[in-house]
């Protein structure tokens, strides 16, 4: 009897092991390196000030107050990661009141996923980098701190920021998301390949022009153009293309428009590049393919510029995105910083101090030069230092010149949770499988509408 019981017991255990995968999913919450355990839960009163927990070693000699430590979650690796780390170091060395602990969390998606888990575990960082498609989810669920009072206390003015960029982080006339690593797509081309093909040294003015050029660039072992995967944000680039073809993903009120005429035309163009003309490929890593000369041109983020110029064995050219039948279209993208809601007052102030530095006039110049991201302050764009740099490295100027022509992305990509990936997967079906855009967009429309429901509901309760 006892033997049977044990056997049954073990069998039950074995069956339970199947459910371990579930535990593994929840595991992200418990194993991710989070902020110091003193971080207050969102609902706690701001009296649990943990500033005194700072180890004496970090206390600057002779300083009157104690140092406030805050945790910052970042998302960059490679050249960008080094620049991000340098930002933290420069801030920590510039003053004694606040010490930022930098924690790298993986790419934009991973950072947002970990922050989601951290919120559940009530172990959030104080400041987090959040991408264009993620910050809104945290805002609408009440996890972001309104920043205007803190900005005023720190002497940071709205007008100091480039309007297009700051406006994207404003809801109901309140700032929640401050631009930091902001980009636009650019048209990158391999000047050597251009020369070999006998082309003029510039980016194509229109897609029609590029359709003429591309066969000359396309040869064995090198494609003329390349599309990224959904995971590498093809839906961000296509946001521009769908505008260029007279379509849009959605209206601001979440009415989906992707399946309409312009969207289908843009989709057909994308399908033709891989299926009919066959001069565009869909590699695993477009940036790498461009740098290694496997593709002669691509649309890439401005943020890729520093890395591309550093690693490419050929001269790199950049230009505005080509125009489509409906003219020019280009969006902004990238990431900004947000403060998590419910921090003790002094942590809030410390967090704002850090953001003011990282997005400040002086550092944004440094940051732009190290990465290729756009300077986020008006004064920085016009500064002598930046202008001099633009003169030396004209590619860095392209994005800033293109900026006034950009507009904010459609709600379907940036406000619907998962919207970016839903559209991206649809684009994979079009570019890789060669499926009919009209049919794919109907599927995508249905998915977007389903995914939009909770956002629309929340929006009603939050913003009325």
């Amino acid at each position: 009897m006892a033997k049977v019981t044990r056997r049954q017991f073990l069998r039950g255990v074995a069956a339970g092991a199947g459910a371990l995968t579930l535990a593994a999913c929840g595991g992200a919450a418990t194993t991710s390196p989070t902020a110091e355990p003193t971080a207050a839960p969102a609902t706690a009163a701001p009296t649990t000030a943990p500033a005194t927990a700072v180890p004496p070693a970090t206390m600057p000699p002779g300083s009157m107050g104690s140092t406030v430590e805050i945790t910052y979650w970042g998302s960059f690796s490679g050249v960008l990661g080094e620049a991000e780390k340098a930002t933290v170091e420069a801030f920590n060395n510039s003053q004694k009141d606040v010490k930022v602990n930098y924690q790298f969390q993986g790419n934009y998606e991973e950072t947002a996923q970990k922050l989601t888990a951290a919120i559940q575990a009530r172990q959030t960082p104080d400041v987090s980098l959040l991408s264009d498609v993620w910050w809104f989810s945290f805002y609408i669920n009440g996890h972001l701190q309104p920043l205007d009072d803190l900005m005023a206390a720190e002497g940071v003015k709205r007008e100091a920021y480039v309007d297009v960029l700051l406006n994207e982080g404003i809801r109901k006339n309140t700032v929640y998301w401050i631009p930091f690593a902001r980009s636009t797509p650019l048209f990158y081309y391999n000047k050597q390949a251009w020369q070999e093909a006998g082309l003029e040294d510039r980016a194509p003015k229109t897609w029609d022009e590029f359709i003429e050029w591309a066969p000359k660039l396309n040869k064995e072992g090198r494609s003329a153009f390349a599309h990224p995967s959904a995971a590498s944000y093809i839906a961000w680039l296509f946001q521009c293309v769908i505008w260029q073809f007279g379509g849009r993903y959605s209206d601001p009120d979440f009415t989906i428009r992707i399946h309409e005429e312009g969207g289908v035309r843009a989709g057909n163009f994308y399908r033709d590049t891989t299926q009919t003309y066959k001069w565009a490929t869909t590699p695993k890593d477009v940036t790498q393919d461009f740098v290694t000369g496997l593709t002669a041109s691509a649309m890439l983020s401005t943020a890729a510029l520093a890395g591309v110029e550093k690693n490419a064995q050929f001269p790199v050219g950049t230009g505005f995105l080509p125009e489509g039948p409906a003219g020019f279209g280009c969006c902004t993208g990238g990431a900004g910083m947000a403060i998590l809601a419910g921090l003790p007052a002094e942590k809030q102030r410390a967090a704002m101090k850090w953001i003011a530095f990282a997005t400040g006039e002086e550092w944004t110049i440094e940051w732009a030069q190290r990465t290729g991201y756009m300077p986020v302050r008006k004064a920085a764009v016009e500064s002598e230092r930046m202008q001099k740099y633009f003169a030396e490295r004209p590619n860095f100027r392209t994005a800033v010149e293109q900026l006034p022509k950009t507009r904010p992305q459609d709600a379907a990509r940036v406000y619907i949770r998962g919207g970016d990936q839903i559209i991206g997967k649809g684009l994979e079906r079009i570019t890789i499988n060669g499926e009919d855009p009209a049919k794919v967009w109907m599927d995508v429309k249905a998915q977007l509408e389903e995914a939009a429901k909770p956002t629309i509901e929340l929006l009603k309760t939050v913003e009325g």
């Binding site: 579930l22 989810s137 945290f138 995971a231 869909t282 949770r417 839903i422 994979e428 890789i432």
Partner: protein, 303 residues
């Protein structure tokens, strides 16, 4: 009478003592399982019935609507087919290959230990790390595999970017990674077969094939059974290499249960549907395990 009344409490006390000891000894494991296996399971069952995005303070109960959404979706059908194809091919090839290599390495060959070590190494390596290496091996232009295929005049398929080849590429990596494990287990199994059985078979006139068919294979059946169960369960849970190499793509060509669960939960932030996928996985694996225990165990010979 007095003897009975004296002995009864004494037996009972010893029994109590044993029961307490039993509880004491199993309690650490039971607590661990309760915290990390059974509680998540129950919580997941709850998650599968709500509409929630992981961030909102509001969790709305929707009953079985999530099940309807997931089970009727086209993507879920693709995911199930992918998982089935992956599991059947991966387990079959790994076990046949493992057995073949084990038989070979069971011979007194030179470099035998070295070969065993080399074969077993992939099993020990981190999935994420080997996935990165294999991405380069599979590169259709400068990858190692493209070069080797080139020597024989073949053009490399666009392994990871072509929906028709991505699953094959993934299978190659998983089989390469797991075959060594099967070899080691089979080698251990081969040692346990009584040599006198072979002698008897030879006397009865069995050739090498007859010996393999009538002695080796039945002798290995408990080992094969063990490998079958563990491999099938492992295949159902495959994630790391998929996440790094293909991210379920291109166009869902390698999207399988665990990746789909991750996709639903952490990319699309749908706790409910993700919970449904986990429940489906749990039920399928439970059924498979019961079937395997019920039917196959009977035919397995334990000497």
């Amino acid at each position: 009478m007095s003897a009975f009344s004296r002995s009864r409490p004494r037996v009972s006390a010893r029994e109590w003592h044993e029961r307490l000891l039993f509880l004491l000894l199993i309690s650490p494991n039971v607590l661990l399982l309760a915290a990390f296996t059974f509680w998540p399971m129950i919580y997941n069952a709850y998650l599968s019935t709500i509409s929630w995005n992981f961030l909102s303070p509001v969790q709305r109960f929707v009953g079985l609507r999530n099940y309807e959404t997931v089970l009727s979706s086209e993507i879920f059908r693709i995911v199930l087919i992918n998982t089935a194809v992956f599991t059947v091919v991966s387990v079959t090839v790994t076990m046949v290959l493992g057995l073949g290599l084990a038989l070979l390495l069971n011979q007194p060959l030179r470099w035998r230990n070295g070969a065993r070590a080399v074969l077993f190494t992939p099993t020990m390596l981190s999935g994420a790390a080997i996935a990165i290496v294999w991405i380069y091996i599979f590169d259709p232009r400068f990858g190692l595999l493209a070069q080797i295929l080139g020597w024989f005049g073949f053009r490399s398929p666009n392994w990871l970017a072509d929906p028709n080849w991505a699953m094959t590429a993934l299978l190659i990596v998983y089989i390469w990674k797991n075959a060594g494990y099967a070899v080691v287990i089979y080698l251990a199994g081969l040692q346990t077969i009584d040599q006198t059985l072979y002698e008897a078979a030879r006397i009865d006139g069995a050739g090498p094939w007859g010996q393999f068919w009538h002695v080796t294979l039945p002798g290995l059946s408990p080992i094969s059974f063990f490998l079958l169960v563990t491999s099938v369960l492992a295949c159902f849970q495959a994630f790391d290499i998929i996440q790094v190499m293909t991210e379920g793509g291109p166009v869902n060509a390698t999207n399988m249960l665990v990746y789909h669960l991750y996709e639903r939960g952490f990319i699309q932030s749908q706790a409910g549907p993700a919970g449904v996928v986990a429940m489906v996985m749990f039920v399928v694996m439970l059924i498979l395990t019961i079937l395997q225990l019920r039917f196959i165990e009977r035919r397995v010979h334990y000497s």
